[in-house]
């Protein structure tokens, strides 16, 4: 394989268009569409006793109002439980519009369609819904106590209890010379992409076809769900993802109620209909993540080596559980990080509460698990008086132990086996990068100036590139241009750039000649979606295989034309040539012409492929095992995930008076296998670090006891600004190629966020000498912790 583009930090081909404002996001489309708005529940838990729409009917421009009673057939059934699991014994999903009851503030009760969104909101405001409030279950403690139930038929508010273990934990803990217990908490946050959800549907009444644009992370998922709900043949539904202004996980959840209701209304009304979620709706009607409580017991020897780890945790999944147990399963497995736990047992309860649903948010359960494991490492170091890096080094899985089988089942139902990684090397790099061994000197200097600084670190392993599969399609057109399609979607990752880099190398064509389309079911119908740091691994590999297939055919056709052995051919700059025979060459465009036997020439070049110009009269024009055209299509479906890893170190300064926390340095050592484009990987890390800082110091969903979200706006939900995230992130890469795929790559999309809370907690603890057990932490909370330490 040529390595001309692969590994180059080239700028993203997407950027010029996007930075010029030429992007087209969902709300840029469908100016002729009717607008949908929703009447949403103001109560966390209530019975609906009456919906009176009469006052709304005289709003000029009103087109339709729908409530549950209007929903036909399969649309009246609960929305799908996307990922069932044997332990998910009490899985409940919502109706597209509330039926009899609402289970969280923001639940959709009625859909209003009007000539524009203003009018739709005017009408929505006049719809009078009578509620009989019921007691709300808010927070993990209330869910566990189960004095009230979110769903009458779910005892204990418990959707699932799941245990996994290796070895005999009870015996290991009983025999361990040291045992510590820790109670730890992480609060709720959310993906909060700047563009919320949105969907536009056009029904072609004559062709009886549906075309949908959705701001989604899975166009094929939405397509299948809409086809099923609306009883349409799959071939008559197209789903297209326009430019998407961020996803971070929340848009892999599907179908949202709006995603099935809008197409349904478009068909019913025979007019295009659009729904664009606003910011307030996004806070209360999409999804959150993170909220977990952990209770851990850990046994270790005098050197700090783990002997047994017993983790019990409670996961708040909100009012429904459409996305199944993915988040807590990831927590329970990825908690182990780069370490050998000795005997391990983990049990979690996934609990209903009267709050917004919980589905994966970048990191997807890992930040919680890593926070827990890294708190354990720091606690052991403190207990034994050891350096924090020493304890980690002693517990690492060594490179010679790879592949390493933890003896557990991962989120994809497959064994948790790490494919590769060199954790000691990563830590050595990190210590070097941050100057770990010299930090005491810096601390003393700062102290002499009346300043308090601290250093912390955290390590993680991330299963990336989960299956089941992705596909790629590569066509070389007669112009010589290469058109590439893959079914998964893009939300700003730079797929058009990296996939083009892969194809340009595989085919030997200029990068500019490669055009990539993602997330359009018209171009590629088989796909899973963009999540779990899987796009580069899955679609990147599939596209590479598809390009190889196209190349093989190109060489074969060119070999016939040049009367040369395909093995003697190479493709350089879009020209196939005989190695060592200057002048014996043919452009890929001409090869494409020849690959498709024609009866009718559409231009002069095409005359070469017509029946009196080419072909062996002894053979059929298209041989039996061949196809016309210069295309390759292939799929990539690995046996299991590939495991990336990384380590972060952070230096903070805490204000002795105001307890404000300032990040002085943020260092990252990252191993995502072979890098396709280092610049893009670093961009992913920067964004991830920003969200890690957010989860550590700023963001939390503040519900009151009645289930009202107190901070449902960017004024009070403190998504950090550029001014709050470190202005520079110091990055060092390690490249341990994955043996799991043809390119040796591992995923990088979520990495940056995962250890943020853990590393920052470690650093604040180090600066303050105060033990931290929950994140995020605000200056006010740090100040209160100082005070309780002083007063004992």
């Amino acid at each position: 394989m040529s390595t001309r583009w692969f590994g180059q930090p080239i700028p993203r081909v997407e950027d010029e268009r996007l930075l010029r404002g030429a992007g087209a996001y969902l709300d840029d489309l469908g100016h002729d569409a009717l607008a949908a708005a929703f009447v949403r529940s103001p109560h966390a838990h209530a019975r609906i006793t009456d919906v009176d729409v009469s006052a709304a009917l005289d709003v000029e421009g009103l087109v339709a109002i729908y409530t549950y009673d209007d929903l036909p057939d399969r649309l009246a059934e609960p929305l799908p439980l996307l990922i069932p699991h044997p332990t998910l014994t009490h899985g409940r999903t919502p109706y597209a519009l509330a039926r009899d009851k609402v289970h969280h503030v923001g639940a959709p009760v009625a859909m209003v369609v009007a000539e524009d969104r203003y009018l739709a909101e005017d009408a929505a405001e006049r719809i009078a819904v009578r509620y009989e409030p019921l007691p709300a279950v808010v927070g993990i403690a209330a869910a566990r106590a189960a004095a009230h139930l979110v769903h009458e038929d779910v005892p204990g508010n418990l959707a699932a209890r799941m245990t996994q273990s290796t070895g005999d934990v009870d015996a290991a803990l009983a025999a361990a010379p040291h045992v510590l217990s820790l109670d730890l908490a992480i609060e709720r946050s959310a993906s909060t992409p700047l563009e919320g959800r949105g969907v536009l549907a056009r029904w072609d009444a004559e062709a009886r076809r549906m075309r949908i644009w959705s701001s989604t992370q899975t166009s094929t998922g939405v397509r299948a769900a809409v086809a099923a709900k609306l009883d349409l043949p799959l071939v008559d539904v197209d789903v297209i993802t326009p430019d998407v202004g961020g996803g971070f996980g929340v848009k892999i959840m599907h179908p949202w109620p709006e995603e099935v209701l809008v197409p349904w209304a478009a068909r019913l009304l025979a007019r295009p209909v659009k729904f664009v979620e606003d910011r307030r709706e996004h806070f209360v009607a999409s999804a959150h993540e993170r909220g977990q409580l952990h209770s851990v017991r850990v046994g270790f020897d005098d050197d700090g080596r783990l002997l047994g780890l017993d983790v019990r945790f409670w996961h708040d999944h909100g009012a429904f559980i459409p996305y199944g147990l993915i988040v807590p399963i990831i927590t329970s497995t990825q908690l182990l990080g780069p370490y050998k736990p000795g005997a391990y047992r983990v049990t979690f309860d996934s609990l209903y509460t009267n709050t917004v649903i919980v589905t994966p948010y970048r990191g997807a359960g890992r930040p919680q698990g890593v926070f827990v494991m890294e708190r354990v490492m720091d606690a052991i170091a403190r207990e034994l008086g050891l350096d924090r890096t020493t304890v980690r080094e002693r517990n690492f899985i060594e490179p010679h132990e790879m592949p390493y089988d933890h003896g557990l089942v991962f989120q994809d139902g497959r064994p948790l086996i790490y494919d590769s990684g060199d954790f000691p090397a990563s830590l050595a790099k990190l210590k070097q990068l941050v100057g770990w061994d010299d930090f005491e000197q810096a601390r003393e200097t700062a102290r002499a100036e009346g300043r308090r600084i601290g250093i912390g670190l955290a390590c993680y392993v991330e299963g990336t590139g989960v299956g089941p599969y992705e596909g790629g399609h590569v066509v070389i057109e007669t112009s010589g241009k290469v058109k590439v399609a893959t079914g998964l979607t893009s939300q700003g990752q730079g797929h058009q750039t990296v996939f083009a880099q892969i194809v340009a190398d595989e085919l030997g064509v200029p990068l500019d000649d490669v055009e990539v389309v993602t997330g359009d079911t018209r171009r590629f119908g088989y796909a899973v979606g963009t999540f779990a740091s899987r796009a580069a691994v899955m679609s990147g590999s599939a596209i590479a295989l598809a390009a190889r297939a196209a190349k093989e055919k190109a060489l074969r056709v060119a070999g016939d034309a040049l009367e040369a052995n395909p093995d003697d051919l190479e493709i350089v700059d879009g020209v196939v040539r005989v190695v060592g025979a200057p002048g014996a060459e043919i452009s890929l465009g001409t090869v494409a012409v020849l690959s498709n036997p024609l009866r009718y020439a559409f231009d002069t070049a095409a005359q070469a492929a017509t029946q009196f110009a080419s072909g062996d009269p002894a053979k059929p024009p298209v041989p039996e095992d061949d196809e016309p055209g210069l295309e390759g299509r292939d799929y990539f479906s690995p046996m299991q995930s590939t495991f990336a890893n990384g380590m972060h170190a952070v230096v903070v300064e805490t204000d002795p008076d105001t307890a404000e926390v300032k990040i002085l340095r943020y260092c990252v050592v990252h191993d995502c296998g072979t890098l396709i484009n280092p610049r893009i990987v670093e961009g992913q890390i920067h964004g991830g670090v920003a969200q890690g800082v957010a989860g550590a110091l700023y963001e939390r969903m503040a519900y009151d006891d009645a289930g009202q979200l107190q901070n449902a706006s960017f004024m009070d939900f403190l998504m950090p600004y550029a001014s709050e995230v470190p202005s520079s992130v110091e990055i060092d890469h390690l490249e341990t190629p994955s043996p799991m795929n043809p390119l040796g790559i591992k995923g990088a999309g979520e990495a940056g966020v995962i250890p943020g809370a853990a590393a920052i907690a470690s650093a604040i603890e180090d600066a303050e000498g105060i033990v931290l057990t929950s994140m995020p932490i605000s200056p006010s909370e740090l100040w209160e912790l100082r005070r309780s330490k002083e007063t004992g």
Binding site: E121, D657, D716, L718, S780, E784
Partner: protein, 287 residues
């Protein structure tokens, strides 16, 4: 998040604006920079029957130093006031405060007078007006009146500017000789409304002793709180203690009441230290 229907007027002259306000009656609202009003209207938390847009009233787009008063017209944006060299030299607290008001994009639209009328107890300019003893000139079809800072702030987001009145100008005294000011605050994110903030003013006697010192506080009371600290100011730490003992803040999502109180103390100390230094420097320069 789209506003309910409202009537919209955009007068070209102050006189007609005042007349329109007089005829529309209660329920009409003045629209200045819209940075506070538009979110409220869009979230349907406010349902004005009409908006009277004053963005065409060019005659109110000014900042000038007029003898011992800095005058800020109702259409002067925060950014303009912040950048005005004469106003900044005449009353340094303006710049010290305005750089803490929101972010550049919001300062480009939001007006200083609008933020005073809006009377947010977390707003920097309300504290400035209160600390310096400034005033607001308001006009209506009934005439014109001057409202002093002491009279203006009635409660959180409630000022003594009536529905038919247009605030036309804020007036602030220039900095007297041998005086200094400072503005310090703690906010969760740069540009956010402060968790707590302190504006300080200090004037020195010829012998360097403190002639007058007071501080104004953000986010610790329903209206901008001003504490008289002349007796303590020579020792900023003691002044901080005094402030801490006097404020009665409340808890919210971002801070406990005690933390806020502690901040009031710390920030008083910091602000007074800076203001004292500035006053000494100004005294030395004059001498």
């Amino acid at each position: 998040m789209k506003p309910a229907p409202f009537d919209y007027r955009r007068p070209e002259q102050v006189d007609s604006a005042v007349e329109v306000l007089g005829t529309l009656g209660s329920g009409a609202k003045v629209l200045a920079g819209g940075q506070s009003l538009i979110p409220l209207v869009s979230m349907r938390l406010a349902h004005p029957s009409a908006l009277v847009d004053i963005n065409r009233l060019r005659e109110l787009d000014y900042v000038r130093v007029d003898g011992d008063v800095v005058r800020i017209g109702a259409l002067a944006r925060h950014a303009r006031v912040l950048a005005d060299p004469a106003a900044g030299a005449a009353q340094p607290l303006l710049r010290q405060a305005l750089r803490l008001v929101a972010h550049a994009t919001i300062r480009n639209r939001g007006t200083t007078v609008g933020s005073i009328v809006h009377a947010d107890p977390a707003g920097e300019m309300t504290a400035v007006l209160a600390l310096l003893g400034g005033s607001l000139r308001v006009r209506s079809s009934r005439g014109e009146r001057n409202v002093t800072a002491g009279e203006l702030f009635l409660g959180p987001l409630e000022s003594d500017v009536r529905d038919d009145e247009l605030a036309v100008e804020a007036a602030l005294p220039v900095l007297p000789p041998s005086s200094g000011t400072a503005f310090v605050e703690v906010s969760r994110r740069a540009g956010d409304y402060a968790v707590c903030g302190v504006a300080a003013f200090v004037r020195l006697k010829d012998d360097g002793a403190v002639a007058a010192a007071r501080c104004a506080y953000l986010s610790v009371a329903p209206t901008p709180l001003v504490l008289e600290l002349t007796d303590q100011a020579a020792d900023p730490r003691a002044a901080g203690e005094a402030a801490r003992a006097q404020v009665q803040p409340e808890a919210d999502l971002h801070a406990s009441a005690d933390y806020r109180r502690a901040l009031a103390g710390v920030l008083t100390e910091r602000a007074l230290t800076q203001a004292l230094a500035a006053a000494r420097a100004s005294g030395a320069a004059a001498a």
